[in-house]
Subunit: 226 residues, 2 copies
């Protein structure tokens, strides 16, 4: 039986690195896809590159996409500040990038169709997460259905499967799984506003990451500013 | 009641120009969105600009997207020839661009969310069309459902509506509707491989367009090479 192949959305953060490690552990030969979308934390792309090299992929593709020309998020519009964690409300936070996972999955789908790859991995998580609507299981289910109506492969009986191996895990469980699989988390960047090698320590992404390491009782390799 | 707003996917072709004219006739104030995606027929972007000026829009945004780095279509890979019409089979043709409408709608969705616009218009057609899977009503229905799970607006009770005013019309009916609404089709470009101002006359897009004008019995303003 030939090796199964998969495309992994790789941001350079902790979750997507774990997602890649899980895909590999399940026997998939992996392609990695990253986006330069005008994000404030563009340094994560260097991290994505390091993670791809560390874990090993067939190809790591970078797509340029000027989402900053659309704006509407603290991550793509430098006039909007990244909120300090702890002042969160029930509302979807301003770090939400409109339709980001929809856009990213769509481009992954396009590449998957060209490569004849049927498996897509995305490291969304609906437990220790920021409340983004496009990280929920119902979104993923609807996306998969749409994808199989949208594409030649779907219509011709080669359906796409969207894998979300982290969706039900806590951040601590994600980290434990990654460590078990040999992920070097010092290569990853979660912070929304890192200063070169240092994470801010006060944004939502930093908080969730730090709490995950703390809950697991293992050393957090992240270098914080303070 | 405030004016309703809409985003129109505007390619520079006959269908999307008609779609914009219909949206305007229904009272929508319109934003137009075009993509420079590495298409062979990049000249259509000049046509899109002319159509936007001719019919009038609030803003015409161009998003750059290197789909040619993905390839897999005669429209984005110059090593693949555009087929001559008449040799068509039951298969989806090589001019199909993998997941194109999925990608385009996703970026329209992102912009719509930032603008607080709930209406998207796409000029897909399932009658006189090239057999692309992402032009069918079942795809649009699934896309709309996914979009309302993916987004802050959808979750917060401001659902998106995807309008497909051309989906059930023949090409002749589309042209008739556009002419009734004052569309100047000499500004539009349908050809997949135009040579500056001349259309090839032999590709599928040229064939469908020419047959539409012929069936309606009106003058075709397209300038063909031969």
């Amino acid at each position: 039986m030939p090796t199964q192949t998969a495309i992994i959305l790789l941001s350079g953060g902790l979750d997507s690195a774990t997602s890649l490690a899980i895909a590999k552990s399940q026997g998939y030969a992996c392609y990695a896809l990253s986006f330069d979308y005008g994000q404030r934390h563009r340094i994560e792309l260097e991290a994505a590159n390091k993670v791809a090299n560390h874990l090993g992929v067939i190809e790591h593709k970078l797509i340029n996409l000027n989402l900053d020309s659309i704006g509407g998020s603290a991550l793509t519009d430098t006039d909007i500040n990244v909120p300090i964690t702890g002042v969160s409300t029930k509302e979807i936070p301003i770090t939400y990038v409109p339709a980001r996972n929809t856009v990213f999955l769509s481009l992954a789908l396009a590449w998957a169709e060209v490569l004849s790859v049927s498996n897509l991995f995305i490291g969304v998580n609906a437990v220790d997460y920021s409340g983004y609507p496009d990280c929920r299981p119902e979104f993923i289910t609807a996306y998969e259905k749409m994808a199989n109506l949208a594409t030649k492969a779907g219509v011709e009986g080669h359906p796409f499967k969207i894998h979300t191996p982290l969706i039900d895990l806590s951040k601590a469980e994600i980290i434990k799984k990654g460590l078990d699989l040999g992920v070097d988390y010092s290569l990853t960047v979660s912070c929304y506003q890192p200063d070169k090698t240092y994470a801010c320590g006060v944004c939502d992404a930093c908080r969730l990451r730090a709490e995950g390491f703390r809950a697991l009782g293992v050393n957090d390799p992240t270098q914080y500013i303070s």
